[in-house]
């Protein structure tokens, strides 16, 4: 087996099978030319390895943006929580639509409602005023009696 049959670069790069690797190592022990070639390759790889990785000027980050999304509705049906959320949203929308779709009260209905409220307020006020008016009438009667009594006492003296 001559030198050209030994894949020194593959050996350096770790691309050989275990059998091939052992054959190369055996050959390197016997051939000074191949040892020299292998040393050059090793120094080359070492020099390449000295090049540092560079830091990025800034990090890459993605935000939730519809223009980046490959599919829209498809994602909605891919998970149970999303489906649950969609159901809740549809229920909320139905309630809102029902509320908005109810007929608005007419002017006559509004007037009747106002009249009912007014009547209730008046009745409530009258009920509260009755005892007050009775007290006032009583006090007026008492004042009149006292006045007549004072006139009678004055005439006797």
């Amino acid at each position: 087996m001559n030198c050209s049959q030994h894949d020194l670069k593959g050996y350096l790069l770790g691309e050989l099978s275990e059998t091939e690797r052992l054959l190369v190592e055996d050959h390197l022990g016997q051939c000074s030319d191949c040892r020299e070639e292998q040393e050059k390759l090793r120094l080359t790889a070492a020099a390449l390895g000295s090049l540092p990785e560079e830091e990025m000027p800034y990090r890459i980050a993605f935000v939730s943006d519809k223009i980046f999304e490959p599919r829209g509705w498809a994602w909605l049906w891919n998970s149970a929580p999303r489906l649950g959320f969609a159901s809740a949203a549809m229920l909320a929308a139905a309630i809102l639509v029902h509320g908005l779709a109810r007929p608005a009260p007419t002017a006559a209905a509004m007037a009747a409602m106002e009249a009912r409220v007014h009547g209730q307020v008046v009745r409530s006020l009258e009920a509260d005023l009755v005892p007050v008016m009775e007290d006032l009438q009583y006090l007026q009667k008492r004042a009149a009696v006292n006045y007549r009594e004072s006139l009678y006492v004055g005439s006797r003296q």
Partner: protein, 182 residues
């Protein structure tokens, strides 16, 4: 409690379900490798950064097409390869990529270490195909089979590119004493 790092396939699955946060974790794992791969191909930090963003945007938009999630790494580098070579074609359309003379890489800032400069000059002497092969093999640690997947070419082509590049680099770099740099 045993902490288990979330694996890439899990993050890919979550991303496919619309979790952008999962994709951001994936990006944070791979962005530096992709950036350095692109930087060593195009030789300019701003271009490498712009291309990196393009790569991750395209990966995000096409993630649904990735059938075998265990092949995410070669798939991502394949996108980066396409972006890099489209960029190089736009920059110098008169040069036939992969066969023309190598162009010295432009460097935006000076490095203090002479060895670093020597390595960069040596890489700049390679053709684009050869330099990419070295970057994928030496700096990204891909096996020949994976490189063939990234580059969409036979393993024999990958091997010949790497070996030819090593021959060129050896002439420049083998005489250099690297003991101080390791």
């Amino acid at each position: 409690m045993i902490f288990r790092e979330v694996e890439d396939p899990d993050l890919i699955a979550r991303t496919k379900r619309g979790k952008v946060e999962a994709y951001n974790i994936l990006v944070s794992r791979w962005e530096k490798r992709i950036f350095n791969y692109l930087l060593r191909l195009v030789g300019n930090r701003e271009d490498a950064m712009d291309l990196s963003q393009e790569v991750f945007l395209k990966a995000y938009q096409n993630l649904g097409k990735l059938q075998d999630v265990s092949r995410f790494s070669p798939w991502l580098f394949r996108i980066a390869h396409n972006e890099a070579f489209s960029h190089l074609r736009r920059k110098r359309p008169e040069v036939e990529l992969g066969s023309g003379p190598a162009v010295e890489l432009a460097r935006p800032r000076l490095e203090p270490l002479e060895l670093t400069l020597a390595v960069r000059r040596a890489l700049g002497r390679l053709s684009d195909d050869q330099r990419e092969a070295i970057v994928l093999k030496i700096y990204q640690g891909f096996k020949f089979e994976e490189m063939a997947e990234v580059l969409d070419c036979p393993v024999s082509t990958v091997k010949s590119r790497v070996y030819a590049a090593l021959e060129v680099l050896k002439e420049t770099l083998a005489p250099i004493d690297t003991r101080g740099a390791e």
